[in-house]
């Protein structure tokens, strides 16, 4: 069979076109060699995780552009907001670049894209399924292959994030050397320990415990006794080399330490413990006690979104809608039965359409936001050196739409919109001078999660008097300074397993005898209280009930407390007990202006901040 020339040419045109379309990336200036999800090979769910990529510039000229990391569906549709980072890579050089996305439990398709001379290039990756358990890693020196402990992931210390919020997914670190870090990474490490991180310190190859330089002086590692407490964190010493122990021995040693703390606490459990496992009964729980897990960030954002929304008369809207539906169907049909004049029919049709348009338009205008406003919930952990570690959930309700620049005072910010299904038009730049540029349509809202660190004149307290007996606080007086917040709603002190209410008297916070069990407070979850919120049937989505007049942000205090202590009502059944030599001060108050976002468009700001301060109780004065 002879192939004619025109047919042959046509086939080649199709072939050439398909080749061009299918393989457009044969020549790329940038190559991605490696991508690391989180600290191990799997990230941690419902946390901000570092995603580290190794990029090589394969051309003879420098590459300077913006790289974007974007979650996509397998069909290529965008989900959530894009993360952006500017990068400069010298010719034929490689560089590590870090993004800080908020990850959930699902496996997702991610795309790294960048602009080049000929347009846009991209490369897709599938993220591993995140884990939900606490993460333990060994920090390794990049130029030295250390002892690899099976079951424990090694993470190069030079990739350790320099931002505190990016280390949230990490619980324990194993070390046998002093990491060589610049100031930002060192600070992030120290503040991570202060916020509750655990460090296991082993002997180095010379058989000595690592000697930390002056820059780590705040850890006070010159003590000989193990463990050393630093803020909420703890450092354990082991007089062994990692090379000399097997994984099972290491596991036993680590577990023994954690267990010894647990046993010590258990021994101190007294008759005051109502919820011991042996005689525990759900009937003993308070009526409003609902067993719940820790409220996740998305649930909290949805609740804030419900608060920020304008209240609409939905029953009336649906009544009118149903009436219109009846008019469009049977209504118009009966008109044709009564009158044969088709001009009359079309007149009525257009007239009623215009009338209903007007009615619905008036309802729409009535429901619209008249002012832009923000509702925020903040946890502010007081760090050494007048710094605040901020965890914020906010919802921004906008009257007039546009592109909004969301930024906060201070540096080191990480933003996330925590959207698992919807696309968000905008870009997040994390890190120093981090910000979120987001498109918010008219009369709608945008909720976001923010982790940040700001330098502010934070308050401090001194223990004036402290007396306890049988794990119960008898006397407590704390002296406050001039930076103590002015707008304070509640003050509590956590000692052992109870929360003691404090009163402000002049420049002192004094315990007057009122207290309650922490476990009962942790059981209170406003989001599960059907007085305020209920699932909107037939979906399980949360919606506000009508009785919202008495709902204030103060109702979210137990949820904030859950988040601070990382404990839910389920955990509280097994009795939470803080270390005896430490107490925690919780101050709940209105958010001051310096903690709200910088946005002149937002005129109405409402929010609650929970300040948390760890107080060592060394003196036992009467």
């Amino acid at each position: 069979m002879k192939m004619t020339l025109p047919k042959f040419g046509f086939k080649w045109i199709i072939y050439f076109t398909m080749t061009l379309l299918l393989f457009p990336r044969s020549v790329e200036a940038l190559e991605i060699h490696d991508i690391r999800w989180g600290f191990g090979d799997r990230p941690v769910a419902y946390k901000i995780n570092p995603v580290t990529i190794l990029i090589e510039n394969t051309e003879s000229k420098p590459f300077e552009s913006e790289l974007r990391l974007q979650r996509k569906t397998l069909r290529g549709e965008q989900i959530d907001i894009a993360l952006s980072a500017s990068v400069y890579i010298a010719p034929f050089e490689k560089k590590w670049l870090q993004f800080y996305p908020y990850l959930t439990e699902s496996t997702d398709n991610w795309e790294v894209s960048w602009k080049n001379e000929n347009g846009q290039s991209s490369q897709s990756f599938l993220s591993p399924r995140p884990i939900v358990k606490p993460l333990k890693i060994q920090l390794a020196q990049p130029d030295r292959i250390g002892k690899v402990v099976p079951g424990i992931k090694q993470f190069p210390e030079d990739l350790f994030p320099p931002i505190l919020g990016a280390v949230d997914s990490l619980n324990e670190i194993i070390l046998d050397h002093v990491p060589k870090w610049e100031k930002s990474r060192r600070n992030a490490f120290l503040q991570w320990i202060y916020s509750g991180g655990v460090v296991h310190l082993f002997e180095n190859s010379n058989g000595n415990l690592p000697t930390f330089p002056e820059s780590y002086a705040s850890l006070k590692l010159n003590q000989t006794s193990s463990p050393v407490h630093y803020g909420n964190g703890v450092i354990y010493f082991y007089h062994k080399k990692l090379d000399e122990i097997t994984f099972s021995e290491l596991k036993q040693m680590l577990v023994k330490n954690i267990k010894s703390v647990g046993e010590q606490q258990a021994r101190e459990e007294t008759k005051y413990n109502l919820y011991q496992r042996s005689n525990f009964s759900y009937n003993q729980l308070p009526e409003n006690f609902i067993q719940s897990s820790i409220t996740d960030d998305e649930e909290l954002l949805v609740a804030l979104n419900e608060l920020s929304k304008t209240k609409q008369i939905w029953y009336f809207i649906f009544l009118i809608s149903f009436f219109y539906l009846i008019v469009t169907g049977p209504g118009y049909y009966f008109i044709t039965k009564f009158s044969a004049n088709h001009y009359l029919f079309y007149g009525i049709y257009l007239g009623s359409t215009a009338l209903f348009c007007l009615i619905f338009l008036i309802i729409g205008e009535y429901s619209a936001n008249s002012t832009s406003r923000i509702h925020s919930l903040i946890i502010a952990n007081l760090l050494p050196d007048n710094e605040l570690d901020i965890t914020e959930w906010s919802c921004l309700g906008i009257a007039s739409g546009g592109n909004f620049n969301i930024s906060h005072p201070g540096n080191s910010h990480i933003y996330s919109t925590c959207q698992h299904f919807s696309k968000v038009n905008g870009t997040v730049i994390n890190g120093r001078e981090g910000k979120m540029v987001v498109d918010i349509p008219t009369n709608s809202s945008r909720s976001f999660f923010h982790r940040g660190k700001i330098s502010a004149s934070s308050f401090s307290v001194q223990v004036n008097s402290f007396l306890s007996s049988e794990m119960k606080l008898e006397v407590l007086a704390l002296e406050i300074d001039k930076y103590f917040p002015a707008e304070v709603d509640q003050i509590h002190f956590l000692y052992g397993s109870k929360l003691y209410k404090l009163h402000q008297e002049g420049n002192q916070l004094v315990f007057r005898g009122a207290f309650r069990k922490l476990s009962s407070l942790l059981g209170e979850n406003t989001l599960l209280d059907q007085k305020y919120f209920a699932p909107a049937k037939p979906t399980s989505f949360l919606s506000l009930q009508d009785q919202t007049k008495d709902l204030s942000l103060n109702h979210f205090f137990p949820i904030l407390l859950q988040r601070v202590l990382s404990r839910s009502s389920r955990d509280s059944l097994h009795q939470y007990r803080a270390p005896n030599n430490h107490g925690k001060l919780f101050v709940l108050g209105e958010i001051p202006d310096n903690l709200f976002l910088n946005s002149p468009e937002v005129t109405k700001k409402e929010g609650l901040v929970l300040y948390c301060l760890d107080i060592p109780l060394t003196s036992r004065a009467g």
Partner: protein, 309 residues
């Protein structure tokens, strides 16, 4: 002449409202919009701009329905008369070309436009749900009406030109593919050729391709809807897409009018007749010589004659 031409249109509109199926179809289409509104309201706590989400869904649904109507409904306006050999009878009834075109095609477009307008009150509720403004809703509806005018009249032109419905449908389908899909394909090919160094950014071919793609995007309802749905849209509802779609639609209508007599004076497709005869032979029915239902045609002729006189 114009009054006489509009009588057939008026007759078609009158006939339309007497049909039960018209009311059922309108009720069903607006009911679907109501159900989507209800589902958007249910999920509104998880979506920060549910109104925009709802409106976007309805807009694209309407776009696809109008496009499908253009392919299957508008493009058969004249060809079905050609296939049923009823055009000579309509002419015999005293209908001129303009009356035929208005009655057969413009009425169909009007039906679709009225259906779109019927949805408008529910679309206005998107404002209450949040994320969209009344201006954006009006701009989208106007853009969609202009698109209906364009596609209805372009389909009419294809219908006048083609002898059979299948040909008309193919012509509309191919044109829509070229209009909507070719710019993105050509842009990708151009980018790929530039990436490999076969084309320069300032070459004549590149510039021509760019001009063509820009023109297609300028008059494309898809690009216009995308633009309208962006936050902060504050432009006029009358824009280049609306104007161009209306003008092209009018041009297609005038061209159809001009070529109507030329395209319909020829004998109808013989293949079709042959196939009909074969079919009838197989089914055992007597051969009707292409006129399949003389009774229907007579009734139609009688009705038209009555109204026209």
């Amino acid at each position: 002449m114009l009054r006489g031409s509009l009588i057939f249109t008026s007759f078609a509109l009158k006939k339309d409202i007497r049909l039960k199926r018209t009311h059922l179809f309108r009720f069903a289409s607006i009911g679907i919009v109501f159900l989507i509104l209800f589902s958007s309201w249910l999920t509104s706590s998880r979506i920060t701009s549910p109104g925009l989400d709802f409106f976007t869904k309805i807009t694209w649904l309407n776009f696809w329905l109008v496009t499908l109507a253009g392919i299957g409904f508008f493009s058969t306006a004249i060809t079905e008369e050609k296939e049923e050999h009823t055009l000579p009878l309509l002419k015999l009834a005293g209908l001129n070309t303009l009356a035929l075109l208005l009655g057969k095609s413009t009425v169909r477009a009007l039906r679709v436009i009225l259906l779109l307008l019927g949805q408008l009150p529910f679309l206005m509720l998107a404002v209450a749900l949040g994320g969209i403004t009344p201006l954006q809703i009006c701009a989208t509806i106007v853009a969609m009406i202009a698109y209906v005018i364009l596609i209805a009249n372009f389909s009419l032109l294809c219908s006048v030109y083609a002898k059979r419905s299948g040909v008309a449908i193919s012509l509309v389908l191919a044109s829509l593919f070229i209009f909507f899909v070719s710019p993105s394909i050509l842009t990708k090919i151009s980018a790929a050729l530039q990436l490999r160094g076969y084309l320069g950014a300032n070459d004549l071919m590149t510039q021509n391709l760019k001009t063509y793609c820009d023109f297609c995007n300028e008059i494309s309802v898809i690009e216009q809807i995308r633009l309208i749905l962006t936050t902060g849209y504050s432009k006029s509802v009358i824009n280049a897409q609306v104007g161009s779609n209306f003008l092209i639609g009018a041009f297609c209508f005038l061209t159809s009018w001009m070529i109507f007599d030329h395209c319909t004076e020829n004998q109808p497709a013989k293949k079709k007749e042959t196939s009909n005869r074969t079919k009838n032979r197989k089914s055992g029915r007597p051969d009707q010589g292409g006129l399949q239902s003389p009774g229907k045609i007579f009734i139609l002729w009688q009705e038209v004659q009555t109204h026209y006189s």
